[in-house]
């Protein structure tokens, strides 16, 4: 930990990396909670991989890959949302198609881009140490947007996640809010890609919220706890990867996965112990 502190004081890129991780954990906690309670991990995975197509296209056209990622993520979210409203049975296939085709388009366009070849690995597995200042500002505003939308429409997003049919009967626009939710997830995916890369995104999106869900029983508290956990994992991952010179994205995800495993085992043991106490008494 000393090493991280020293690096933080002396290296501006480390400060950026730390800040990036902390900012990302806000979106991760908020949108991740919806991903867990709505069980849309597969959709989030599809969006994340489709994003490479947008990044590749932006890169090919000489534009910002981050911008391309945002556009691609939103387009993928809207396509999946629309298909799941109109042809629910095709949802799974559509996600699979977007997932793979997006990746293929991205890889082809990046390969065809003339000049110095971009580090594809950093898109796939993230490179928080290289996060530019400008992206931090953008992530900050995306966070603000996500949190604001959730605050404004918390009750609608809750009922749509909990009981769609009842929501419909109360004249809540279920289709609109389902789409909105997918867009929030899409923006979060783009943010998290900066931290852990698009292949590993799903771990940071689902696991902190899943751990939180084992301990708290309200969606808002789940979001708060997941945000704090996300901050711990990104910071911890950064520290460990810096200390031992490991890839930061993979280290962060491994840490998150281990925490999830430990928490699940802990909860199981606790329940088993309670049952044992009850039967003995």
């Amino acid at each position: 930990m000393n090493t991280l502190l020293e690096a933080l004081v002396s290296q501006p890129f480390m400060q950026n990396a730390l800040l990036g991780g902390l900012l990302a954990s806000v979106a991760c906690g908020v949108a991740g909670s919806y991903v867990v309670v709505r069980r849309i991990g597969y959709i989030a995975g599809g969006i994340a991989h489709a994003v490479l197509g947008g990044m590749g296209l932006a890169y090919f056209l000489g534009r910002s890959p981050f911008g391309g990622a945002i556009v691609a993520a939103l387009v993928a979210a809207l396509i999946i949302g629309w298909v799941s409203i109109r042809w629910k049975k095709q949802e799974d296939t559509t996600i699979s198609a977007l997932w793979a085709v997006g990746m293929a388009v991205g890889v082809l366009l990046i390969a065809r881009t003339p000049g110095y070849n971009v580090d594809l690995m950093s898109y796939l597995f993230g490179n928080i140490l290289m996060i530019p200042q400008g992206h931090l500002t953008l992530i900050f505003w995306l966070d603000v947007g996500i949190v604001l939308l959730v605050l404004l429409f918390f009750k609608q997003l809750l009922v749509v996640s909990f009981d769609e049919e009842f929501a419909r009967l109360r004249q809540v626009s279920v289709d609109f809010f389902s789409m909105l939710l997918l867009c929030l997830v899409a923006l979060t995916v783009v943010i998290l890609i900066q931290v852990v890369g698009l292949i590993l995104v799903i771990a940071l999106l689902a696991l902190p919220a899943a751990i939180a869900g084992q301990f708290v029983h309200s969606l808002s508290r789940m979001m708060l706890v997941a945000t704090v956990l996300g901050a711990c994992f990104t910071t911890g991952g950064l520290a460990v990867s810096y200390q031992y010179d490991l890839p930061s994205g993979a280290t962060t995800v491994l840490l998150t996965g281990l925490a999830y495993l430990a928490s699940s085992i802990g909860v199981c043991l606790w329940r088993w112990w309670q049952v044992r106490q009850a039967t003995e008494a």
Binding site: V37, K155, V159, E165, R170, Q171, H217, S218
Partner: protein, 247 residues
């Protein structure tokens, strides 16, 4: 006769080739406590979904409060089958009941103070006020059923529609739920769908037997032997499609 609240005329509904409801006509009047019974797959849930405007029949006319089911939605309190719920969803009793205020509360931001008061009243009415802050996961089946009834009451409905309110809860709790409904019937029209006629007939004023087509009985007509027959009907009706027409 008092005012007709829900009326269906010659309603037919088919899922692709499969005819689920055929020429069903039904009128529900104010203050009634109507039970719709029938075996599994007899079209009970479909009928409810048509009344709620979630499904549109291919044939026939449906009026709820004199308008289309879609327009009348906010005047109905709906209690879904609770067995289908994700019991691990992180939500409290209070948050669940407050959902009844949607459609009548503001669009943006949280619920109003008045919404919280109505939710509280609804919880008191189902005798669950002291569990308001409990998570849904901590409730028993009977308690969850009451929470869903409270949520429907928070809609300030004129009709309460319940889909299998007593499936998967034990008979003692079941009796409590029907006593509650009986009390609510003093000010509300109630429509209950159930596969369990034997129990329901003690509480309702009229029963409609559904198995693709519909036959109505006043519960006064149904005594002793009739209940036996009706109670047995769902079991036999699976094999004999016409059994419900014979009584």
């Amino acid at each position: 006769m008092s005012e007709a609240i829900i009326s269906l005329q010659d309603v037919s509904f088919r899922y692709e080739e499969h005819m689920v409801l055929q020429d069903v006509s039904l009128t529900i009047h104010e203050q009634e406590f109507l039970g719709i019974v029938g075996p599994n797959g007899s079209g009970k849930s479909t009928l409810l979904k048509i009344i709620l405007g979630l499904l549109v029949p291919q044939k026939g006319q449906v009026r709820v409060f004199g308008s289309s089911p879609f327009e009348a939605r906010l005047r109905i309190g709906y209690v879904p089958q609770f067995a289908t719920f994700d019991r691990n969803f992180p939500i409290s009793v209070r948050e669940t009941v407050l959902q009844g205020r949607l459609g009548k509360t503001r669009l943006i931001g949280g619920y109003r103070r008045a919404d919280h008061q109505l939710a509280q009243q609804a919880l008191e009415e189902v005798e669950l006020a002291d569990l308001a802050n409990r998570p849904l996961t901590a409730l028993s089946g009977g308690q969850l059923q009451r929470v869903l009834i409270a949520r429907a009451l928070a809609c300030q409905p004129e009709v309460l529609i319940l889909d299998e309110p007593t499936a998967h809860i034990d008979p003692k709790v079941e009796e409590g739920v029907f006593e509650l409904l009986k009390r609510l019937n003093q000010r509300l029209t109630i429509l209950v769908v159930s596969h369990d006629i034997g129990f329901i007939s003690r509480y309702i004023t009229r029963v409609a037997c559904l198995n693709r087509t519909l036959v109505c009985h006043a519960t006064a007509e149904i005594t002793g032997e009739m209940i036996e027959q009706l109670y047995g009907a769902p079991l036999r009706a699976v094999r004999h499609d016409t059994i419900l027409h014979t009584h």
